[in-house]
Symmetry: C2
Subunit: 194 residues, 2 copies
């Protein structure tokens, strides 16, 4: 998605340790016009798929998923990172290791929001080692529902997440795949769209 790549080139900041900061439009401040373009592009790529619900994970996936859902005309469910007193009933849960925060946390989804046989589209802002996406896929499988696709805004193609998911036969659509970054030169190499 050229518009997205241009925006990453313009506003992304590369930090040592392969960190790509895009907090001025994606995951702290959110450019909602861009999110609408992202929604149209995911709909174009998943046009052949029936989607009953979109599943994402708090916090930075939520805004993207909410805007994207308008193009699929379906509700969004977001996995929560901690137990709340307002959650009860049967829960699906899994452990996710965070690349950003260097720790493992539990995420939960009320099982009544992912029903057996439903078609679920996973949406998230970033994929690096794929732990968040793999965790959400695990929740969907535990619910006996179908993963019809995984839509990622920015994939770090030099980490293993995309390969792991695609090896499982999962359909992954990443709108920008970063193959290399250079923090000194502030240059970024994107994979060509296939």
């Amino acid at each position: 998605m050229e518009l997205l790549k241009e925006r990453i080139r313009k506003d992304g900041i590369i930090k040592p340790g392969n960190v790509l900061k895009v907090d001025n439009f994606l995951n702290h401040q959110m450019d909602i016009q861009l999110f609408n373009e992202i929604g149209k592009e995911f709909k174009r790529r998943f046009a052949d798929v029936k989607v009953d619900r979109i599943l994402t994970i708090e916090a930075s996936g939520i805004g993207i998923a909410a805007v994207v859902a308008q193009y699929f005309d379906c509700p969004v469910v977001f996995a929560k990172k901690s137990q709340s007193i307002n959650l009860d009933g049967t829960m699906l849960s899994t452990q996710i290791e965070s690349f950003t925060h260097k720790r493992t946390y539990e995420v939960i989804v009320a099982s009544r929001f992912i029903k057996p046989g439903e078609n679920i589209l996973v949406i998230d802002d970033f994929m690096a080692n794929g732990c968040a996406a793999l965790g959400l896929v695990q929740l969907i499988h535990d619910a006996h529902a179908n993963v019809v696709g995984i839509g990622i805004v920015i994939e770090k193609g030099f980490q293993q997440g995309g390969a792991k998911l695609r090896e499982q036969g999962l359909r992954v659509e990443s709108l920008a795949i970063v193959d290399a970054m250079d923090a000194d030169a502030q240059t970024i190499t994107f994979r060509e769209d296939s």
Copy 2:
């Protein structure tokens, strides 16, 4: 907002301790069509106000704010609940006490996303004791920006948040104000729209 009150009556579950669960459409599963109606209603109520940015707080404010922002044609910034390695630069921060989780946490916003003199609209899903909204107002004041309004989807009118904010001269628009709830009878009393 009648549509919202009807939905709360239909799908809200009242739990002992004055807990109102609306996780099937507002803060776990999100009904994006309803969020669009909420966005139209906030725009109607704040039609006279110039809004440069919307400020909300993770996690459950994000989806609502993202959809609402489409009606104000502005970006959204969400306050984060924990320090991340991907955040740096100057930060605004404040302490917020959580009614739901019975604890105090720090929230932060990169100061470059709230500029002096800007008009900021606060959007959140719930207000009870008002601590989250008061914390966001504090951040905006610390940034020397203007709080043009506070838009809340559900206000618990029997708690003190709304009164505290209105006493400060802040303009609060709550789309549904709950004046009383009965967990045994599962009945809910809404304040009349003014």
